[in-house]
């Protein structure tokens, strides 16, 4: 699982945002704002984590139970797919 190039995570006035650059500007008219968990997961994927590890780091970081972390992660990954931000490994 890999994030597409050309999306930059930025913190603006305490809000996490994704700024599209390059040809991606055509897909997003403006920025995408992320909540804290989403930004955390974004960074995890950027660092090469796959699903099981993502869930694990989320559990550790936020002291939530595994089921919830799993649901959140799946939800986020689905959103990324929907927004066409993800390259999935074969």
């Amino acid at each position: 699982m890999k994030l597409k190039d050309g999306y930059i995570l930025r913190k603006i006035a305490n809000t996490d945002m994704i700024v599209p650059i390059g040809e991606n500007i055509a897909n997003f008219n403006g920025v995408i704002s992320l909540n804290e968990t989403a930004a955390f997961l974004w960074k995890g994927i950027k660092n090469g984590l796959e699903l099981p590890n993502l869930v694990e780091t989320l559990v550790n970081e936020y002291q939530v139970d595994k089921e919830l972390a799993e649901a959140d992660t799946m939800d986020f990954v689905a959103k990324l797919k929907e927004a066409n931000l993800l390259i999935e490994n074969a």
């Binding site: 930059i8 930025r10 913190k11 603006i12 006035a13 945002m17 700024v19 650059i21 390059g22 040809e23 500007i25 055509a26 008219n29 403006g30 920025v31």
Partner: protein, 404 residues
């Protein structure tokens, strides 16, 4: 001086980098343009590509999201591509202002790789003759057309902007028809007021700008917003006549032969009426009555941090002290004197703001006669329009009751 503990929370969200104040054109009404001689007189130097890139890193770190690269004409710099490429990679919401007459294949290459989110292109006329009269360069017309053709291929949002003066007012219909032929993805803006030059700009604006009377006549003839807005305001105040809205709006403006109803014709409005409000309100004070120095800033061609591109009353030195320090210390330098009694009492929504007052009078709180007159005439026109609307509504009502 303000009490800074009371100041609205500041955050440098939007920045403007004025990469140069020089230009390849010599527009009669340019607020900014200087030449090398004036640069020397002013004692500044244009900042190097490296300095702009370093600064961009700092403002990125400080949380700037919207960044405007402008001039003068930014593409005039031989190192424009270097600056642009490095800055664009960092991840800003990038806007580029240009006159589109210097778009080379090399520049297009980097713009294709990293398209700006928005491009503002200034259009000075609809023929080589007008370009000659306004910019001093007839050939620039064809070059602009070619430049726009190129820039249109990018996924960027395009805004075509024009500033009307005596020399190009006749071209407005042609410009707007051309601008609107590009469809919905291209906006078209006409600036409302031309002020005198700022920060040592060398153009002779006064000889070419429209008189306040011409300006307001132009608004009346051409601008949908100006006609429709007071009407809607009136309707809002009179909920009882809401049902007639459609009928009346048609009668009010569709008939006008000059009325370009399909055109996204918009006025760039001053956000001001600033300290007038602030003085009496319980809101936390700003510095200039607007966003300048609160959530936005400009870095001038010679590397000073100022409130907005039209200001220049005071500054700090981001390249020397680091951006954050320059940003943090900026408010200490701002001294906003109270407005003259005339303006404090005035009810007109004119286009005066500290920057335009400064440009017109040399003082942040000066009384700008030109802008004042325009504002008052516009207000009169608005009242006239409203009277007109009222009359029409009354007549409609009468007819309506007659049929009952």
């Amino acid at each position: 001086m303000k009490n800074f503990t009371d100041l609205l929370e500041r955050y440098p969200i939007n920045g403007t980098f004025e990469l140069t104040a020089r230009c390849n054109l010599k527009c009669k009404m340019c607020l900014i343009r200087i030449d090398r001689d004036r640069m020397e007189e002013l004692g500044g130097r244009e900042r190097t590509a490296n300095e702009w890139i370093q600064l961009a890193r700092q403002v990125h770190e400080a949380g700037t999201i919207g960044l405007l690269l402008t001039g003068g004409e930014p593409m005039l710099r031989p190192d424009f591509i270097t600056i642009y490429k490095e800055v664009a990679k960092m991840g800003f919401l990038l806007t580029l202002y240009t006159n589109a007459t210097m778009v080379t294949p090399e520049i297009m290459k980097v713009l294709k790789e990293y398209p700006p989110h928005m491009i503002g292109i200034t259009i000075y006329g609809a023929s080589p003759e007008t370009y000659e009269n306004v910019t001093g360069n007839a050939k620039a017309y064809e070059r602009m057309l070619a430049g726009v053709e190129q820039l249109r291929k990018l996924p960027s949002k395009l805004i075509l902007r024009t500033t009307l003066i005596k020399d190009n007012i006749e071209d407005l219909d042609k410009i707007s028809r051309w601008a609107c032929s590009f469809g919905k993805n291209v906006d078209f803006n006409v600036s409302r007021i031309v002020t005198k030059p700022v920060r040592g700009g060398i153009s002779d604006v006064e000889s070419c700008r429209l008189t306040p009377e011409q300006n307001v006549a132009m608004l009346k003839e051409r601008n949908m917003d100006f006609i429709v807005k007071p009407f809607h305001r009136y309707l809002k105040e009179h909920p009882e006549i809401k049902m007639n809205q459609r009928m009346i709006s048609q009668n009010t403006y569709r008939k006008d032969k000059n009325f370009l109803s399909d055109i996204p014709f918009q006025i760039i409005k001053s956000e001001e009426q600033g300290d007038k409000k602030n003085e009496n309100s319980t809101h936390k004070p700003t510095l200039y009555g607007c966003d300048a120095g609160i959530n936005s800033y400009t870095i001038t061609w010679d590397g000073k941090l100022i409130g907005c591109q039209l200001l220049g009353d005071c500054w700090t030195y981001p390249l020397e002290t680091g951006f954050l320090k320059a940003w943090d210390e900026f408010p200490e330098h701002v001294f906003m004197p109270p407005l003259p009694a005339k303006c404090m009492e005035c009810k007109v929504t004119c286009n005066a703001c500290p920057a335009t007052r400064l440009a017109e009078t040399g003082l942040l709180n000066g009384h700008p006669a030109y802008i004042c007159k325009e504002g008052i005439l516009a207000k009169e026109m608005e009242e006239e329009l409203i009277d007109n609307i009222k009359e029409k509504i009354e007549r409609k009502k009468e007819k309506y009751y007659e049929t009952l």
